[in-house]
């Protein structure tokens, strides 16, 4: 719609300008439409375009009118003469023309907004008598539907024949005059426009989402954008099973240069580079990348080590061809030199800054295409873009943000069955459909966080869905790898540094629900809980100098 409107506007420019810059101008508008979501942003966009048209069109026309023409020389003694165009005062006719067009464009735009806000679509069926219509609550691809209440103003309907219904326009809100029967004389289904709020049982309506298989959608996204950001759920088995398949896909492999991960301490970039490239590197050295993270003090989920192995396997399979690099985005703190909270403070305080710096240095500066993976809390657009995304945008690149989410749309027990028909895993673009209208926080937290006014379509560009909430599981490091082992003792030390007291991190189950039902806080027994330690003063310090990579 927006593209078509601007294509019409573009036709007003001289052919020469369109031929030289028409496609570029269209691309710029496409970029803005994609990045500037929401009603206010759209109004601002079209206001900008109208002003731009009024300001630039007369100038472009004037340049075109005075375009230089090569006059063939009739005599070898007379050379064709050229002159340079001058800037001058815009002529009034051109300004009036631009103003008139702007007024028409604004009128059309506001009319369109009015319709889209005040009306919504519901499916109708014929009731017991010819004059009664019942509304089916909208359910898109599931026309089984729940039966809704009667349509207000049903008495104003008149049946003209068995296949076509006409509506007397007594209600100013009913704007669609007729529709056709498609289910025989005893009942019909069709589409009607009703005023928003008229149907108490009808659900908010927008168009249906385009649900794509996650691998196909991700390959398309990485083809269309230099950077795709994936907000992940930590340790989720189903999510990483899909990621491990994705990295082995040849098309994905050819399009992506780097995968920047949160789950890798950048102190160990050198070892990881060698490992990912297929060299023989002792596992005890490589695994330090994900076992010695600064951002995750507890034992890391095994899914991360498996992901590194999957990328290495993909590279080895395609040896001699394009290779994927894993770039480590966790700050470079060395746990062997961290003895207290003050030592770790600067690293913890600058996790996003460091990740953004890595993206600038290792991806943007090299003009690479990259998939960025970080916990969804870091990427979610809560109050505008996060630090990492802002940094990327400042560098002139607009990333595409996909966030992990599931079918919990309200409280913990409010699961939406519309997700059940989707393929798994799937990626769904969020603009202009009912998925984008869902509250973001319950969807991305499996119903553990309450709904806020933040809509999914404002929080991200697309949703990664790997299964219904209760099918999702988190993988934990087995107890045997931690209980009484040197690494387990080290984890206990790190947790004590951060929490100020020992914390239990040993669990018998290696696979647990990703989003367990929230439990009421038990009454403390055996005295008050130990207080959290004060924030280290060093969080205000800058990151220390980066040591050589190991």
């Amino acid at each position: 719609m927006s593209e078509k409107m601007y294509a019409l506007m573009l036709r007003l420019y001289p052919a020469q300008f369109r031929a030289s810059f028409g496609e570029e101008a269209m691309q710029l508008v496409r970029d803005r439409v994609r990045d500037e979501q929401g009603a206010w942003a759209k109004v601002r966009l079209w206001a900008d375009l109208a002003v731009d048209l009024a300001a630039s069109l007369p100038r472009a026309r004037r340049r075109s009118d005075a375009v230089l023409v090569v006059v063939p020389a009739h005599s070898s003694h007379v050379a064709p003469q050229f002159d340079v165009l001058q800037q001058g005062v815009p002529n009034l006719r051109a300004i009036a023309y631009g103003a008139m067009f702007s007024a028409v464009a604004f009128g059309a735009l506001f009319t369109w907004f009015g319709y889209s806000r005040n009306y919504r679509e519901v499916h109708m069926v014929q009731g017991p008598s010819k004059h009664d219509l019942l509304a089916l609550s909208y359910s898109g691809r599931h026309p089984g539907a729940r039966r809704g209440s009667e349509v207000p103003g049903a008495g104003t309907l008149a049946v003209s024949d068995e296949s076509e219904i006409k509506v007397s326009r007594k209600s100013a809100h009913i704007v669609l005059a007729s529709w056709r029967s498609d289910s025989g004389p005893s009942g019909f289904q069709s589409t009607q426009l009703l005023p928003a709020g008229a149907q108490s049982s009808a659900e908010p309506q927008t168009s249906q989402p385009n649900v794509q298989g996650a691998t196909v959608a991700m390959i398309e996204a990485i083809g269309a954008h230099q950077i795709v950001m994936l907000g992940e759920a930590h340790g989720d088995k189903q999510e990483y099973e899909w990621l491990n398949v994705l990295v082995k896909n040849r098309e994905f492999d050819q399009r992506v240069d780097d995968i920047v991960v949160e789950f890798g301490n950048s102190l160990y970039q050198k070892s990881v580079d060698r490992y990912i490239a297929g060299e023989d590197v002792p596992m005890g050295q490589v695994e330090k990348a994900w076992r010695n993270m600064i951002g995750s003090v507890g034992p890391p989920s095994p899914v991360y080590g498996e992901f590194y192995a999957a990328v290495r396997a993909a590279n080895m399979k395609h040896r001699g061809k394009h290779q994927i690099r894993i770039v480590l985005g966790d700050p470079y703190g060395d746990w062997e030199k961290i003895n207290d909270a003050e030592d770790v403070g600067p690293y913890l305080a600058h996790r996003d800054e460091w990740y953004a710096q890595v993206v600038k240095d290792e991806v943007l500066a090299k003009d690479h295409h990259a998939l960025l993976i970080m916990g969804s809390g870091h990427f979610l657009r809560r109050n505008g873009t996060g630090l990492v995304e802002s940094t990327i945008r400042s560098a002139g690149t607009i990333p595409y943000l996909v966030v992990f989410g599931t079918n919990a749309i309200g409280g913990y027990d409010n699961l939406d069955q519309r997700f059940d028909s989707w393929p798994v895993p799937a990626i769904v673009a969020l603009a202009g459909n009912w998925v984008g209208d869902l509250p973001a926080m319950p969807v991305v937290t499996g119903g553990m966080a309450p709904a806020t006014p933040l809509k999914l379509s404002d929080a991200a560009d697309a949703l990664l869905y790997v299964g219904p909430r209760d099918s999702l599981t988190e993988v934990r490091m087995p107890r045997a790898e931690l209980d009484g082992t040197p690494y387990g003792n080290e984890i206990a030390r790190r947790l004590t540094i951060q929490m100020g007291h020992p914390v239990n991190f040993l669990f018998d189950q290696t696979e647990v629900p990703q989003f367990p039902r929230p439990q009421p806080q038990p009454q403390p027994t055996g005295g008050p809980r130990p207080p959290l330690p004060p924030m280290p003063k060093s969080i205000h310090d800058p990151l220390p100098a980066r040591p050589p990579s190991q």
């Binding site: 300008f17 375009l49 002003v51 630039s56 269309a224 003009d367």
Partner: protein, 116 residues
């Protein structure tokens, strides 16, 4: 003597040259950079942006560059622009003029604080 098209340099053209001072950019990136460097006060529309680019290409203040990614299938096909040596000289000269104006303004107490 015909007047040069970009003399004086229009504000949009100056901002575009400034946005290209740290490297090559495509149209949308230029628009975003100008928006950022003017604190949101100038959002160049496609008409203004590309007519300015057209004029600056003709005056050889900027030039188009070919990028590796453009040839690859599935990638967005964008045109990137960068400053020419004369474009860099021109933007520096314009910035110095502005700095002179600011110095005068400060000397006459029109501006307060540590501008420039």
């Amino acid at each position: 003597m015909p007047k040069r098209k970009l003399d004086p340099l229009p504000s949009a053209a100056f901002q575009i040259l400034l946005s290209l001072s740290d490297g090559e950019r495509h149209g949308y990136s230029i628009m975003r950079q100008v928006e950022e460097q003017t604190s949101g006060n100038m959002r160049l529309g496609p008409g203004t942006l590309y007519s300015s680019i057209q004029a600056m290409l003709e005056e050889e203040l900027i030039e188009e560059v070919t990028r590796r990614g453009d040839a690859e299938p599935g990638h967005e096909r964008r045109r990137y622009y960068r400053l020419t040596p004369s474009g860099r000289k021109r933007v520096r000269s314009e910035a110095e003029k502005l700095a002179d104006v600011l110095r005068v303004a400060r000397a006459r107490n029109i501006l307060r604080g540590d501008y420039v």
